[in-house]
Amino acid sequence: MTRRVLPGFRLSTGYTLAVLGSCVLLPLAALLWTACELGPAGWWAQVGTRRVLASLRLSFGAALLAATIDVLLGLLVAWVLVRYRFAFRRVCDALVDLPFALPTAVAGIALTALYAPNGWIGSRLVPWGIEVAYSRLGVLLAMVFVGLPFVVRTLQPVLESLDGDLEEAAYTLGASPIQRFLRVLLPLLLPALLTGYALALARAIGEYGSVIFISGNRLFQTEIAPYLIVQKIDSQYDYRGAAALGAVMLAASLLLLLAMAAVQRWARRWAVLR
């Protein structure tokens, strides 16, 4: 038998599986069980309505878009925080975590106050015909807001550890600044960018508190799927219906994360473990 660094392999593995099982798998299994009690026809009756489909489309569509925006913004923020030295850099660095730490309802209220038609920014956007609060744009904004720290925090350590020699090597080989970024830095940052994307996406799909305040929850327009789940339980005590919708979200999220893991593997194909 090979000697391991830490003793008690069986004990620790058993513990890990027990925790995973009771905290993650068991609740998910219960969710699926409840959803299955409906049967296929009952399930479709719950999920196939125009209202539910619209909410699912908004939830996943906005989350995908928000995660994409987060990746672009997060790259910029992480780049500035790592590569430049300026006054209040540490303060800015600490501020990145704020959307993460803030109760989501507080974030929602703050965003609504700012972007409502009579708010500080909202009132200035209305003459341009841009409505942020109580629109799909508001949903997107809230999702971008809560997802940003995930991208910045996954990118930062990778950017910091990036070997400056690589850029200089590309430079002496004749690469222009754009080529150095696209051909050297970006491929090296891609795994971290994808991780950040997946995390921001997961957060945006699951976001509830901040979105329901700014979206206004207009029928067919700005209702997100988690809002409908809460509605079903709150107003109709319809646990099975809520579970049916929850199962759809679970399956879709799982598929998205698996797809991300596959892309992740491809992006890291050069990092060979020997």
Binding site: L166, T172, L173, W270, V272
Partner: protein, 379 residues
């Protein structure tokens, strides 16, 4: 022709990395820049590569101002100490990088690039590994990929930063020999930076010894080794050790013995420094004659005995290198008598600069030494 470096200065805050460096490198020369860390050798390399700019001074290549050219257009190949291979590209893609990033008007066709990469990989003996990623290569293989990548852009000057610094001893020795041959076959003007004396002396056509931002000596490996110009070069390259000495008229007195001094300008110097090399400290052929000393320790390294000696009348112990036969019979703590076979004398002016130097061979003792082959030949 070649590269003309003139009065280069570079300062980082209060640290002077390069202090008025002037140097000529001939076409096709293989030059080593040798010095301890912090001597300014890497600063010089980075300025030549275009990754740093000097505070003043000029670098010309065939009359063209090199400093005015951006690093991208300098045609300088740089091999980094830690290779700096692109980890996300295969060996072949790494080598092709410099050709693929060219503006499209100057970029060779894909087939031409492929042929060139194949040829380079064959030359560095890595054609079997073209599809591997850098993480799958050994240190010596990575080093050769880095070399092939730098050569792909057909540089007119090749710079190597501590080319063997990160390799283990066996690979290092093999690769040294290989690189020397490789350079001969290419004929590209090359400059490599190292802190390893053996490496510099074995490989280079010419050695530039640097210390604290200044050039101490420029010369062939033989010149630098056998006729060190300054006490620093003597210490760094030949392991010269200071012994107390006085210069009077035309003789040098060291620990009671008198040496004849020739070619030593007696007026200009302010102080003298006398050095002896480990291999020039030998045990006396006749016991009782020479310098009494106590053996502090004996180490055997690859056929050579390194003895640490406390010579009576000296504070610092001296290191002597004896061949195995000579040194084998000694043990530490023992008392021995030793002789110096040769000394180097440096005369220093008031600013500490060398203004005179001389090599002394065989002291003329009270009774001349009647040994050595020349006596027998005369008889």
């Amino acid at each position: 022709m070649g590269i003309d470096i003139s009065r280069l200065r570079r300062q980082f805050g209060s640290f002077i990395a390069l202090d008025d460096i002037s140097l000529r490198i001939g076409d096709g020369e293989f030059v080593a820049v040798l010095g301890p860390s912090g001597s300014g050798k890497t600063s010089l390399l980075r300025i030549l590569a275009g990754l740093d700019q000097p505070d003043s001074g000029s670098v010309q290549r065939d009359g063209q101002d090199l400093l005015a050219l951006d690093a991208r257009r300098r045609g300088v190949g740089l091999v980094f100490q830690h290779y700096a291979l692109f980890p996300h590209l295969t060996v072949a893609q790494n080598v092709a990088f410099g050709l693929r990033v060219r503006p499209w008007r100057l970029r060779p066709k894909a087939a031409v690039i492929k042929a060139r990469v194949d040829e380079l990989l064959r030359r560095v003996e890595l054609d079997q590994l073209a599809a591997r990623y850098p993480a799958q290569l050994s240190g010596g293989q990575r080093q050769r990929v880095a070399l092939a990548r730098a050569l792909a852009i057909e540089p007119r000057l090749l710079l190597l930063d501590e080319p063997f610094g990160a390799l283990d001893a066996q690979v290092r020795v093999n690769l040294r020999r290989w690189l020397r041959e490789f350079h001969r076959s290419l004929g590209i003007t090359s400059l490599f930076v190292t802190h390893d004396q053996d490496e510099a002396l074995e490989m280079a056509d010419r050695v530039i010894v640097m210390n604290r931002g200044c050039i101490e000596q420029v010369g062939t490996p033989e010149q630098v080794y056998h006729r060190p110009a300054t006490p620093f070069v003597s210490k760094f390259i030949a392991r010269g050790q200071a012994v107390p000495g006085e210069v009077t008229a035309s003789s040098l007195r060291v620990l009671g013995a008198s040496w004849r001094l020739e070619g030593f300008a007696d007026e200009t110097w302010h102080a003298v420094e006398v050095h002896v090399r480990p291999e020039h400290i030998v045990s006396s052929p006749r016991p009782g004659e020479g310098l009494p000393a106590r053996l502090l320790g004996v180490r055997h390294v690859a056929g050579t005995t390194l003895a640490s000696l406390q010579v009576d009348g000296m504070h610092e112990p001296l290191e002597a290198a004896w061949n195995g036969h000579d040194g084998g019979r000694h043990a530490s703590g023992e008392r021995v008598t030793v002789q110096f076979q040769a000394l180097t004398v440096f005369g220093l002016d008031r600013e500490g600069r060398v203004c005179a130097r001389a090599d002394c061979h065989t002291p003329h003792l009270a009774s001349p030494v009647v040994s050595g082959p020349w006596r027998r030949l005369e008889a």
